[in-house]
């Protein structure tokens, strides 16, 4: 089936099997391997991307369901060599160790900040409930998102 997706502002067209998962489309067809595959059972959140601006788990969406939609992956965040505030927050607050969960964690944080630009610590923890990290103990991730929220709120003002 022929589908067309806008990924990080760029149009991608391909003829795919209906059973192809969105995460496989991103990694194997669009060659955007920043989106990781973790549990494959919609629990770990490693494959999180934004689909029409909402955070979703791309291991549990068919590529054909995303036909005509906009997708934002980790590769689409930095612009002109400048890190996105959430990326910067993870860098500055050591929000990662092995890095496997990081793209999904960052995209889930972006999804959260689209809905709530000044989340409390509890709201950040709840917003990242669908993402697992086995290294950090989460504290630095929460700090990273708090710092990103502050920077983004500052930019809005």
């Amino acid at each position: 089936m022929k589908i067309s997706l806008e990924i990080n502002g760029k149009k991608h067209e391909a003829d795919v099997e209906p059973r192809l998962l969105l995460v496989h489309f991103l990694r194997d067809v669009a060659n955007l391997t920043g989106t990781h595959i973790g549990c494959e059972t919609s629990l770990c959140g490693a494959c999180t991307v934004l689909l029409d601006d909402a955070a979703i788990k791309s291991c549990t969406v068919l590529a054909v369901q995303a036909d005509g939609c906009r997708v934002t992956t980790i590769e689409g965040l930095a612009s002109a060599g400048e890190l996105h505030p959430v990326q910067k927050g993870f860098w500055e607050h050591h929000g990662l160790q092995c890095g496997y969960c990081t793209p999904g964690m960052i995209m889930a944080a972006c999804g959260l900040l689209r809905e709530n630009l000044s989340p409390s610590e509890a709201e950040i923890r709840e917003g990242l409930e669908g993402n697992l990290c086995r290294c950090t103990g989460y504290q630095n991730i929460v700090d990273a998102v708090e710092s990103a929220a502050r920077e983004m709120a500052g930019a809005v003002k």
Binding site: G45, A54, Q65, G130
Partner: protein, 286 residues
């Protein structure tokens, strides 16, 4: 995990979807948000010849008030129900239940209709749907019919929706006292599914319980109304003693408790009574 091959159709009207479903008969599955079906396809617990994606049919995700009834399209996502100001005001039990499902990403994709038809015995929605005495509208080629929540859940993973039918809408009467409600669950810590979940909708007049509907999910292969608890409450002043004695009956409707790696049947039975008491206290503000 990769599903086996299937043909994919994304009709843009209910009529076209029904035609396709009739054409494939038993050998097709209906896809809405996909958060029940896609895992099943990936595990190859189902390998249908065709998947009919109803997600592109317009008008099936609206949330509206029609006189004294709230009407929720089958494709409304958990996230949209949790975020609805109207539901938060007129029927907070729906909003609070939606908010407790899965995680933000799952709530952004999963739908009320899809979850109900899947009839997972550990799903959250059945408790609220029973406690609100909801009506589920289904469309088939012969027309439309309405299924009462009490008749909707037939067995584990089996609802009263027949082959050739599509759930289009869920409607509930606006409760007389919207805030006299609660949904409390003990969640399985990895998946967030309910080990036991109890939803309560009460009506209290001058301290006396004049109406009570209680839905229990997670405990038995099929969710149920805790009628013995409801009957013990009705007509009596709501006190801590009454709540304790009524909640102790919350497991009496279901003979068989589920017994699995998450919890023994005995533990589920205990949880059902404890959670029922907590949910009643929260709803009654006792």
């Amino acid at each position: 995990m990769i599903p086996s091959n299937f043909e994919y159709h994304a009709p843009t009207s209910i009529e076209a979807a029904l035609d396709l479903i009739n054409q494939y008969g038993d050998d097709c599955k209906i896809l809405s948000g996909g958060h029940s079906l896609i895992p099943v396809l990936k595990l190859r617990l189902a390998a249908p010849a065709a998947v009919i994606d109803i997600g592109r049919i317009p008008g099936l995700s609206s949330i509206s008030l029609d006189r004294d009834r709230l009407r929720i399209g089958a494709l409304a996502t958990h996230a949209s129900i949790a975020a609805s100001d109207m539901l938060g005001q007129l029927c907070p039990l729906l909003a609070t239940t939606a908010h407790q499902i899965g995680d933000p990403q799952v709530r952004n994709r999963g739908t009320l209709g899809g979850s109900l038809v899947h009839a997972d015995p550990a799903a959250d929605w059945p408790a609220a749907i029973l406690a609100l005495d909801a009506s589920i509208t289904v469309r088939g080629s012969a027309g439309e019919r309405h299924i009462a929540a009490n008749d909707f859940f037939v067995d584990m993973l089996t609802s009263a929706v027949q082959q050739g039918e599509i759930v289009t809408e869920i409607s509930v009467a606006v409760p007389a006292q919207p805030r006299a409600s609660s949904y409390i669950k003990v969640a399985q810590s990895a998946s967030g599914f309910a080990v036991v979940g109890v939803a309560v909708q009460l009506e209290i007049d001058n301290g006396v319980c004049v109406g009570a509907r209680i839905g229990v999910t997670g405990f038995a292969p099929k969710p149920y109304r805790a009628s013995s608890t409801e009957n013990a409450l009705k007509g009596n002043p709501i006190t801590e003693d009454l709540i304790s004695s009524a909640a102790a009956l919350a497991d009496s409707e279901a003979a068989d408790a589920m017994n699995d790696i998450h919890a023994s049947g005995e533990y589920r039975r205990h949880l059902t009574r404890v959670i029922a008491a907590r949910a009643l206290r929260a709803a009654a503000r006792v």
